[in-house]
């Protein structure tokens, strides 16, 4: 700002601009500068999502869900959190460093603060899609078939049902990417 005004003063001094133009330029600069300050001073709004921490999956028998997700999607149950009513099924990066987990729980087993299953909710998560890196179409299909699953969908983006008929999508980065829709 100081340099800008110094240039204006030099322009005024050597007659390049008149007094009126000088005043207008300084006033405009001050207004722009002030607006920037105000924007910077404004409290940040909203959150920055890093990722999905976990999903709460309520089903008739959490042990069957635990076995299915461990067998088909190689999720790993955190044994110390399996209390006979629910299991935390980990996947992805290390926990606390971007990893996620699926909480498979029996009906009525509700986390502290959660309202649990709400019949009145107007929205549902009708399926979850998981990314499989190093996608190899024949290998992925063969793996799912070997688990006894009926596979639908298209190459790179497949659907199966889990043990409770919940729709599970498995996809490659090429086939399912928000920026390539």
């Amino acid at each position: 700002m100081e340099r800008f005004i110094a240039d204006l003063v030099q322009g005024l001094d050597n007659g390049r601009i008149d007094r009126r133009e000088f005043c207008q330029a300084v006033a405009l600069a001050a207004a722009v500068y002030g607006a920037g300050d105000a924007a910077q001073a404004q409290a940040p709004r909203g959150f920055k999502i890093i990722g999905i921490n976990h999903m709460s999956y309520t089903c008739p028998d959490y042990t069957r869900a635990r076995e299915w997700y461990a067998s088909v999607l190689n999720m790993k149950s955190e044994s110390t959190r399996d209390d006979g009513q629910r299991a935390n099924m980990m996947f992805g990066p290390e926990q606390g460093k971007g990893g996620s987990f699926l909480v498979a729980r029996n009906p009525g087993v509700v986390a502290s603060g959660s309202a649990g299953v709400k019949p009145g909710a107007q929205a549902v998560i009708d399926h979850v899609c998981y990314t499989v890196p190093n996608w190899d179409e024949p290998r992925v299909r063969a793996t799912l078939h070997a688990k006894g699953l009926d596979v639908t969908g298209r190459d790179g983006s497949l659907h199966v049902y889990d043990v409770f008929d919940y729709d599970v999508q498995i996809a490659s980065a090429a086939a399912e990417n928000a920026f390539r829709r």
């Binding site: 921490n53 971007g98 603060g113 549902v124 659907h159």
Partner: protein
């Protein structure tokens, strides 16, 4: 393997699948099992790296998308007349904690469609006996009291504590969301119950 074969033979005999389909399934399964044995290992599942997306179906996807955009600073991309995607970051960014180049940013797809809309190219979607009753987002620099203030600043007032390190809210369609920091993990209840709280 026997149970697997029996199931598909039953499907064939009851007309659920064709003869050709039965042959395909059994051939694939047999060759996969053989490959497993040859490698000296049992067949395994798929290694999933991350959630690619969650499909959020509601009566008004635009209203939902606008709410998620406002509250979580998410851009809307690839809008159609019935859905829109909200990625957790900008184009070219990598998901937090992921080194691989073929794992895209997680995103929400807000959509409006019948609940039995086909899964992929398949028949109408089955009615599930399970439900994802809430989803928890990990947010940067989580602080419970600051989170409440941030929600208040964008007009969200139905905030409930979820232990010391998370809060719960409902979105405009009554869907429950949990907001947590990186410290809430699958194992923290066992290793740090006193500080983490039983929030899952």
């Amino acid at each position: 393997m026997e149970g697997f074969v029996a199931k598909h033979v039953h499907d064939y005999q009851t007309g659920k699948i064709s003869r050709r389909r039965l042959i395909e399934i059994l051939t694939l399964a047999a060759t996969s099992a053989g490959a497993g044995r040859a490698a000296g290992a049992e067949p395994t599942g798929l290694d999933v790296a991350l959630v690619n997306h969650v499909s959020y179906t509601c009566p008004d996807f635009r209203k939902a998308a606008d709410w998620y955009s406002k509250v979580f600073n998410l851009d809307q991309v690839g809008a159609t007349d019935h859905d829109v995607a909200l990625p957790f970051g900008k184009k070219g960014e990598k998901p937090y904690g992921v080194a691989a180049n073929d794992v895209p940013l997680t995103h929400i797809i807000c959509r409006t469609r019948p609940l039995d809309a086909p899964a992929g190219s398949g028949p109408p979607r089955r009615t599930p006996k399970a439900v994802i009753d809430h989803i928890a987002f990990t947010v940067a620099d989580f602080d419970r009291e600051r989170a409440k203030a941030q929600f208040a600043a964008v007009g969200v007032t139905n905030v409930r504590d979820g232990g010391p390190f998370s809060v719960y809210v409902e979105d405009p369609f009554g869907y429950e969301l949990q907001i947590a920091g990186l410290g809430v993990t699958a194992i923290c209840g066992a290793e740090a119950r006193a500080t983490c709280g039983d929030t899952r």
